[in-house]
């Protein structure tokens, strides 16, 4: 990764030392005879790929993904769908109706632009701030609310906190709270899918903070050495809870790490739906045709708090958030493009928001009324079949409840 400037310094100093491949079997490097420590500042920072400017105007015609009106509207609606859900559910948590929630504010294009570029059966692993991805795939408001309430209809059987979505039908692996654990798993799944002859890529979302965990290093190295068709998609949104990027790393972001693993990489404007889309289309093509991993780093901004347990005004100024909201919001950038094409209007926008809000509220109220999964379901799925010990513990609990049941809210649970 030498810059042109450095090459000028190096070349004249190379003397005619015979190269011995046996002695250095793992490197194709030249020998030099001047001592020089490479400072990372000598290496060019990776540029950010962008298709639209901040007002939704395409900067180079040959980069236009040429969406049809239907495609554009589908993606736009998915962004609004996510946004409306966030607004209602955040408030629902504040009112005590839901225990916890995480919004996706500001990252809608990074989510939708990428998932829209994949096939419906490409396998997705995610972190927690990718609700737009599963909504785009077809997850309904009802399913999402059912999960947040952990009721009888929750696909996850009421086992995890809100926003831990998953759906086998939609090829979206259930979220888990430990960060980064999904990265090496994504590499493993890609390996298995490749061996099985399936033309499916694995898409793996994670944040820039998550990229600091050892599992990220493990995943990148495994994916590259083992020829895994996986796209590692990093949402660099500037924060890991309160930790800004300057406390997270000192190198050139996440994308620059990829070449160190022998992996292809691109940095994109994460708030530019078209750039995200184009990069993901290309990444999928390369991953599947060459059986290799690609890293995409989407530069975006977390416009909301980390979660309902966080108040981000404690560590960043409201002015900063407002600045991003006003000047670089992924939804408004794409909307401006669509309106310039005559495909959308502010009236349709207002109507859509209103109708979606109503849909969320309906789903929420419906979810709220449903019972929780039965108490004995707690003992299922620990193993494929409960062990004798689990059967014993279940029987003991049921006995206990016969006597002390009035101290528990039994009627909240289905029989």
């Amino acid at each position: 990764m030498l810059t042109r400037g450095l090459r000028k310094v190096v070349r004249p100093l190379v003397t005619s030392v015979p190269r011995s491949d046996k002695f250095h079997p793992s490197t194709q490097s030249e020998f030099i005879n001047e001592l020089h420590m490479i400072d990372p500042m000598e290496i060019e920072r990776l540029p950010v790929y962008r298709v639209m400017d901040r007002s939704g105007k395409i900067l180079r015609e040959n980069q236009d993904p040429k969406f049809t009106k239907d495609q554009a509207i589908k993606m736009y609606k998915a962004m609004i769908k996510t946004n409306e859900f966030d607004r209602v559910m955040y408030d629902a948590q504040r009112q005590g109706r839901v225990s916890f929630y995480m919004t996706n504010y500001g990252e809608e294009a990074a989510q939708i632009g990428s998932i829209a570029a994949l096939n419906p059966d490409d396998l997705v692993y995610a972190q927690y701030r990718e609700a737009g991805v599963i909504f785009y795939r077809g997850f309904t408001y009802q399913q999402a609310c059912d999960q947040c309430y952990g009721n009888v209809d929750d696909k996850g059987s009421g086992r995890q906190m809100p926003v831990h979505y998953g759906s086998r039908e939609l090829d979206y692996v259930t979220i888990s709270s430990p960060l980064t654990t999904q990265l090496p798993q994504a590499a493993g799944s890609a390996f298995a899918l490749r061996r099985a002859g399936e033309k499916r890529v694995v898409m793996c979302y994670f944040g820039e903070g998550s990229a600091s965990e050892g599992d990220a290093h493990a995943a990148f190295n495994f994916a590259a050495t083992l020829n895994c068709p996986v796209i590692f998609f990093c949402r660099n949104n500037g924060f890991a809870i309160s930790t800004p990027v300057e406390d997270q790393y000192t190198g050139d972001g996440i994308a620059s790490r990829a070449p160190g693993y022998g992996m292809m990489t691109i940095r994109v404007d994460g708030n530019d739906l078209m750039a995200v889309f184009n990069a993901t289309v290309k990444a999928r093509e390369i991953a599947l045709s060459e059986n290799r991993p690609i890293l995409i780093e989407a530069i975006t901004y977390r416009q909301g708090h980390h979660s309902t347990s966080d108040d981000s005004s404690r560590y960043r100024s409201i002015d900063e958030v407002n600045m991003w909201q006003k000047t670089d919001h992924p939804i408004s950038r794409f909307r401006q493009y669509m309106m310039a094409q005559g495909w959308w209007s502010m009236e349709e926008d207002a109507a859509l928001q209103k109708s979606l809000k109503k849909d969320v509220l309906t789903a929420l109220v419906t979810a709220e009324k449903k019972k929780k999964p039965s108490i004995d379901s707690m003992f299922e799925d620990v193993y494929d079949v409960p062990t004798p010990e689990l059967e014993r513990q279940k029987a003991e609990l049921m006995e206990h409840l016969k006597q002390y049941g009035k101290h528990y809210n039994l009627d909240q649970y289905s029989q």
């Binding site: 692996v173 798993q185 495994f222 299922e380 494929d384 062990t387």
Partner: protein, 368 residues
């Protein structure tokens, strides 16, 4: 993690085997007792535990095309040669090296299993499994439960050499089964012999839950018996009564089973004490019924394992036996285990739960 070459690994094992007069050589603390293979399992061949394991892996690779096995140095045959020749037979897309990274091995293994491959992940030494602890405990164990059975990694088996080898010290001798037994969702077992190792692995490969098989490495060469050549399974979750007795139950697993068997022979001959020897086989889930029925019958119990005594799996057994069998007990259940020190080097003979410590404990329990 420190890499161990094949030469070093062989040295690790062979030094334990030579029970010669060399004063600085350690001798083995046990004598392997072979079992007879069940007749219904068909033709047998004299096989050591390493080759029995290899046979299990070979059979699985042959019968299930999705099967892959990987880990550090697996491609050339493994530092203990458990995968010797398998890459030539099945190709390097199925038998392969990973980078040196246990968290990666575990995470990658989980993902492959999630995507439907029969996945065998080798952790070179159980002492090095800890970087993989998060993936195993927080991910593999909880995969089915947390997803409401939308997803699971039941096709994952992790296998890892464990336990004392004579001079392995802190980082080539550990028996970490207790850490994993404490995690709902995992299955953990420890074979005592070649027949057991092959049958348990073949069960684990087909079991729809993530399984960990800890293989006592000293048995790789030291344990040899007539092993059925074909496919067979030994069920997970069932304990094995190896010797019937009336005065006391002695409960163990892995290499220590052979120490227990030897002690049972000695005390019967010299003291007329009749000991029922049980190999627990499965740590999670464990066979409470077989164990407690035995202790209720005999009225006395000694639990013995190599791992340090405090919070070793013996603690769980002792607690459960005491509460389940309390009114049938003639003496307090006892434990004879490794000491609460890191596994020492030169002091290994004193750290271990030796047959002399066991004999002493048998006498004390009978006199109680």
């Amino acid at each position: 993690m420190i890499g161990v070459t094949r030469k070093t690994a062989r040295a690790l094992l062979s030094r334990g085997v030579n029970a010669t007069a060399g004063s600085t050589r350690t001798h083995m603390h046990f004598k392997f007792q072979p079992d007879d293979a069940p007749a219904e399992l068909g033709a047998t061949e004299k096989t050591n535990m390493c080759n029995a394991i290899k046979s299990a892996i070979d059979i699985q690779l042959a019968r299930d095309e999705s099967t892959i096995i990987f880990g550090e140095d697996v491609k050339f045959g493994g530092v203990f040669r458990c995968t010797d020749g398998l890459m030539d037979k099945y190709g390097s897309d199925r038998v392969f090296n990973t980078p040196l990274c246990e968290q990666g091995i575990a995470g990658f293994g989980i993902g492959a299993a999630v995507a439907g491959a029969c996945t065998i992940a080798e952790i070179q030494f159980a002492d090095y499994i800890f970087p993989a602890f998060d993936q195993i405990v927080n991910e593999a164990a909880k995969y089915r439960y947390r997803s409401g059975n939308e997803f699971d990694c039941g096709k994952l088996t992790i296998r890892s050499p464990c336990s004392a080898v004579g001079h392995g010290a802190h980082y080539h001798s550990q028996s970490p089964e207790a850490y994993f037994a404490h995690t709902p969702g995992l299955k953990v077992c420890v074979p005592r012999s070649p027949i057991q190792a092959k049958g348990l692995l073949l069960s684990a490969f087909e079991d729809d839950n993530p399984c960990i098989v800890f293989e006592p490495k000293i048995l790789y060469r030291a344990a040899e018996e007539q092993v059925p050549v074909g496919h067979y399974k030994i069920p997970l979750g069932k304990a094995d009564i190896l010797r019937e007795g009336t005065d006391m139950t002695m409960l163990s697993w892995g290499t220590q089973v052979h120490v227990a068997r030897e002690v049972a022979g000695i005390v019967e001959e010299e003291l007329g004490i009749s000991i029922e020897v049980i190999d627990l086989v499965s740590i999670a889930p464990w066979d409470r019924e077989t164990v407690c029925n035995s202790v209720s019958k005999t009225g006395r119990c000694i639990i013995t394992h190599e791992a340090p005594i405090t919070c070793g799996f013996g603690a769980e057994l002792q607690a459960t036996i005491t509460s389940d069998c309390f009114f049938d007990l003639e003496a307090p259940p006892a434990r004879v285990c490794g000491l609460d020190t890191p596994f020492p080097h030169v002091h290994e003979p004193f750290y271990m739960p030796t047959k002399w410590k066991l004999i002493q404990a048998v006498k004390a329990t009978m006199d109680a």
